[in-house]
Amino acid sequence: MSWLSDATLLHLCRVADWPDLTGTRYDCVDKIGQGGMGAVFLARDRELDRQVALKVLSAAPDDADAKARMVAEARLTARLEHPGIVPVHDAGVLPDGRFYYAMKLVRGKRLDEQVSRTTALAERLQPFQKMCDAVAFAHAHGIVHRDLKPQNVMVGPFGEVLVLDWGAAREIGPRADAAVVGTPGYMAPEQATANVAVVDARADVYAVGGILYFLLTGRPPAYGPGAVLARPRQFDRAIPRPLEAICLKALAPDPGRRYADVADLAADVADFLARRRVRAYPEKPFEVVLRLATTYRTVLTLLLAYLLIRILLLVFFRS
């Protein structure tokens, strides 16, 4: 039996995994990622002369379950035509029997790499809102992502946002299996157990709340047995109370106490940014006055200037 050096071993791992694209319109360029179900390769589409990403099933070709899951992932993602969801261009089977699908090559940074706590709050929330639009679109089409996290959101150089990795996505409804899918910290409690029959849009609301928590504090929500979720303002007192309230409402352990879907959460965030009243936060009268004064500060300034003119006229002409 031939002896294989370490270098040869690594090389063989790589070439054995390399997709044989004979008979397709693609040329493989490089491996750019490895996911749970498959590897992602940078490839060139010869017909359209553009670069694409190819996701190729890593499992053995006769693993019918793995293939079915990946086919479902490709079909589901292809159904969701939205600027914030990575489009699927093509799908097929390689000569070695592995299923693959071609999608847009996403260039940019992951959300966790793109933003830091030094970035202005409004800047941090911009990609967040775009991400919410994409997820809300999916919910409107009956699809729940189930594995939302900052690492699955890409921000492009022109501010475009794409939600990736719909491999765990399912149609909203009764659970077909008891498998636990998701990422600790962003996984809703009902997702982590086999007790709840239905995993719906509120599971994604929890994950989106977790992403908001990350954007505000720089860390994922606490998870694990005995973990206690710290309020965001415990890490940074500058975090506005309404925004903290939105975050905590989304992260409520009881699905009934969260937003019904991501569109509601996004609407509250939009209200916060527009200095309107936020549903998740019951304002005190003083806070209402302060908010209105901040919102209409220019008009108030002009009215005060008008009053000042009146007072000056009074003083001047009376004297």
Binding site: Y306, R310, R318
Partner: protein
Amino acid sequence: MKKWLLGLLLGGVLGIFDGLTAPLSAPETAPDLLGIVIGSMFKGCIAGVLIGYFAQKVHSLALGIVFGLAVGAALAFGIVWLQYQAGKWYFWQVMLPGSAVGLIVGYVTQRYGRRL
């Protein structure tokens, strides 16, 4: 709310306020207070409608403010002239607040209110 309506309401309210505060800087006008308030209110409403209509047609904060200022000043000057004909000279007492009201209505109608 449409911009011209916003202008009308704001102009009217500020006009009423204008009228009510007139005796403070010119106590001799106190006996004619009701007439001053009504006149000031109408002046404010007319200014508000004109400025609001302008904001509906021209979408420029700077131009809206300048136009408001000009309309407010013009209508205020009309009052000054009428008073002058009656032998009274209230130039700064009328021009300054009147122009300021026009400026405020010009800003508000550009920033807020529905275009159509």
